[in-house]
């Protein structure tokens, strides 16, 4: 997708007046927050599991090379193939080659953010191969030519009436009188259409929630079962996953699984948790003839050893955006990047560079709710602040903010001068505040007063008033 992260502010302003979107965004707050809380409350060891999950991933990141090599050995031993892709372009090329070798005309896809990151669908289409998204949300946005607005609920920006309209527009072979008014009828409609596509597809492409080093297994968690059909019905199964998806053992996987679905949707476990190791063996009733894993770096190894390393613990549960007041206000598309919300505000600059994405880490109140709910305890606000530091060092911070800050800091670092100035300014401002004790508008304060009144100061500053009170006390001998 086209990166428009630096148009965030304009994107956001549009989103704020989009009535359809605002209605749909209400569902994010209603749908996710209470369910996560309930699931967390029901598990006494939830916070201990989060610590454990964090520690597992920290350990992996300290020894990532070792585990990746072990993983490759195990995949190969199971009859699969591992392909190393340093860049998005490498990954696209590798997947296309595999598809071409299989003479693929259509490929089915399980829901995967990583294939969004590498813009795989566009590349396949440009080369005459039709990608078919099989996750309901992904299917809907593919029909609309859109990108996911949420990492686990890609069509969360839509209302069911909009989806009904899209289905009626595209599924013209189905009877007109068909009831599509409820989500469940939309689901069966999509199922009916997709069922044919699974059988026709030559290649199935999925992402992975985990890659297990000890067994060479890839794991996907889904709720619709579409991932399973995608990866077992095609002749070839291609897993596209980034390198930090590695976990050492099956035991580690099950530890992190316990926090994943609870944090994401409030489920104890997702409906399907599917483990795939290599292609179909002789004794297997089904499965693909070929099993490929494309391991993508795309800037991640450069995050190791930096202040952004903790971001590589992310398991893409979406809890950060589900709890983000900014995301609730503007939705995922406003971020103008593959990954929205707080995790995107940290990851996108790492992947695309801060020059093109500088607004994202600034668009946060630092309320800290994202970090508070992150199952992997990723210090998201802290890392956003680090991005702001990189911007400030390189003078990427907007000039008005930079000079304003410098002028303020000049006084803040000179208490005597500051006190002197404040002792005149605040009483004067207070005077202008009149009897209403507030300003409806004020020069240089438009950012504030556009939407709210500015309270007038009381008069003298606290330190002025305090000094006077102390002096009076001395005089009266108290």
């Amino acid at each position: 997708m086209e990166l428009t992260a630096n148009k965030f502010k304009a994107n956001a302003s549009k989103a704020l007046v989009d009535a359809q979107l605002q209605k749909a965004l209400g569902n994010v707050e209603k749908g996710f927050i209470g369910k996560r809380q309930k699931a967390a409350d029901a598990l006494p060891e939830f916070d201990a599991l989060r610590d454990n999950a964090r520690d597992i991933k920290n350990h992996v990141l300290e020894h990532l090379d070792l585990y990746l090599e072990e993983y490759e050995r195990k995949v190969t031993a199971a009859g699969g193939h591992v392909h190393w892709a340093e860049t998005a372009e490498d990954a696209r090329r590798i997947v296309l080659e595999i598809c071409k070798k299989a003479n693929a005309r259509t490929v089915t896809k399980g829901k995967s953010m990583i294939t969004e990151e590498i813009a795989l669908n566009d590349h396949l289409e440009a080369n005459g191969i039709e990608p078919v998204e099989t996750d309901l949300g992904e299917y809907i946005i593919q029909l609309r030519g859109e990108h996911p607005s949420h990492i686990i609920a890609p069509a969360v920006h839509l209302n069911k009436e909009q989806v009904e309209g899209d289905f009626r527009r595209v599924h013209t072979h189905l009877p007109e009188g068909r009831d599509l008014s409820e989500p469940v009828s939309l689901l069966s409609e999509a199922r009916e259409v997709l069922r044919q596509r699974y059988f026709a597809a030559d290649v199935g492409i999925t992402g992975a929630n985990f890659l297990i080093a000890e067994t060479g297994t890839s794991v996907i968690v889904t709720n619709e079962g579409n991932g399973d059909l995608t990866q077992t019905l095609g002749k070839v199964h291609v897993v596209v996953a980034s390198i930090e998806k590695i976990v050492p053992t099956l035991e580690d996987t099950s530890q992190i699984l316990r926090v994943l679905a609870r944090s994401a949707t409030g489920q104890d476990m997702s409906v399907y948790t599917t483990f795939s190791t290599g292609p179909k063996r002789e004794e297997d009733p089904d499965g693909p003839d070929e099993y490929h894993v494309v391991l993508l770096d795309n800037g991640r190894s450069a995050m190791l050893g930096t202040e952004y390393q903790d971001m590589l613990r992310c398991i893409r549960c979406g809890a950060c955006m589900n709890h983000c007041p900014v995301y609730h206000a503007v939705g995922g598309h406003a971020y103008g990047s593959v990954y929205p919300g707080p995790m995107g505000a940290v990851l996108t600059p790492s992947l695309n560079g801060i020059d093109e994405t500088g607004q994202l880490p600034n668009a946060s109140t630092f309320c800290g709710r994202c970090e508070a709910v992150c199952p992997m305890r990723i210090p998201l606000p802290k890392m956003m602040r680090h991005w702001r530091e990189r911007e400030f060092e390189r003078n990427l911070t907007p000039a008005v903010a930079r000079y304003g800050l410098k002028a303020w800091a000049f006084f803040a670092k000179r208490p005597k001068l500051y006190r002197f100035g404040a002792s005149f300014a605040m009483p004067l401002l207070s005077l202008f505040g009149g009897t209403s004790r507030r300003f409806h508008s004020l020069p240089f304060a438009g950012g504030w007063t556009r939407h709210r009144d500015l309270p007038a100061p009381e008069g003298r500053t606290f330190l002025q008033a305090w000094a006077q009170r102390e002096a009076q006390k001395q005089e009266t001998g108290q």
Partner: protein, 261 residues
């Protein structure tokens, strides 16, 4: 400064970090803080070499200025037994964020850590350190309390103000929906992303309205000015005050952004 003789020997010496917003906009909160601290048995000092905790610079990514300001604050306040601020956000800056500014600097690191360990937000200092249960205040009001983000999530301030408010005679606490969700202030965020901030604070004042309270309290003046400004813009009669004013029984000043009754 406030007491003398033998009693002073046992009194903790507290440096009051007024915070820039209280200093400039609402001195009443400073005086209410002094009263609460003195009533709790503290000897209160107000060093004149204070301006701001440095958060505007810190959150804009200007680490060099932040550090200079932090050094200035540490130098002015480190002599005290405790440093107390009537703001969760500023107290968290002093307590949680200062040490990181000096990481790897042998001359300053331990000094900053020792300083930070003595820093507290006012209300939690009263309840958790000075073991105050009842401030002796009385007020007839239906209040609702907004949990400011930094105090709540970085310092764990949630029950402390409610406990003290529960003992203010005449006060009825009416919890609003999502009291722990951001008000949209976020320091410079509210002017940098004015429209988004407005969407967030609009939701907040909706929740304040439906709580049925006639007074809104919180522990951070930034959030209070934001919410008061929005409430007034919408023509609301809800009075907005810092929680310290109510706990100290000092509500004779007109409320924030209000001309009084």
């Amino acid at each position: 400064m406030t007491s003398s003789g033998t009693k002073a020997a046992q009194q903790p010496r507290v440096g009051l970090f007024a915070t820039c917003l209280v200093d400039l906009f609402r001195p009443s909160v400073g005086f209410a803080s002094v009263k609460l601290l003195q009533d709790a048995g503290c000897e209160v000092h107000v060093p004149v070499a204070q301006t701001c905790c440095g958060q505007p610079a810190y959150n804009t990514g200007d680490r060099a200025d932040t550090r200079e300001i932090a050094e200035q604050v540490i130098e002015a306040f480190e002599e005290f037994d405790f440093i107390v601020a009537p703001s969760g956000s500023c107290a968290s800056m002093l307590r949680k964020h200062y040490p990181g500014l000096f990481e790897g600097d042998a001359a300053w690191e331990d000094r900053a850590k020792a300083f930070s360990a003595k820093c507290h937000e006012l209300i939690s200092f009263l309840t958790d350190v000075m073991m105050v249960r009842d401030t002796g205040a009385a007020l007839e009001a239906r209040i609702t309390y907004h949990d400011s983000c930094s105090g709540l999530r970085e310092l764990g301030i949630k029950e402390q103000p409610r406990k003290l408010l529960g003992n203010v005679s005449g006060v009825e606490v009416r919890e609003m929906t999502d009291s722990d969700v951001c008000c949209g202030f976020g320091g410079t965020f509210c002017v940098k992303y004015s429209d988004i901030s407005n969407a967030i604070v609009t939701k907040k004042v909706g929740n304040i309205d439906t709580s049925g309270a006639d007074m809104l309290l919180a522990g951070d003046l930034g959030c209070l000015m934001n919410m008061a400004g929005k409430l007034k813009r919408q023509g609301s009669d809800v009075e907005v005050r810092h929680v310290a004013e109510v706990l100290a029984g000092m509500t004779s000043q007109p409320p924030i952004a209000g001309s009084g009754k």
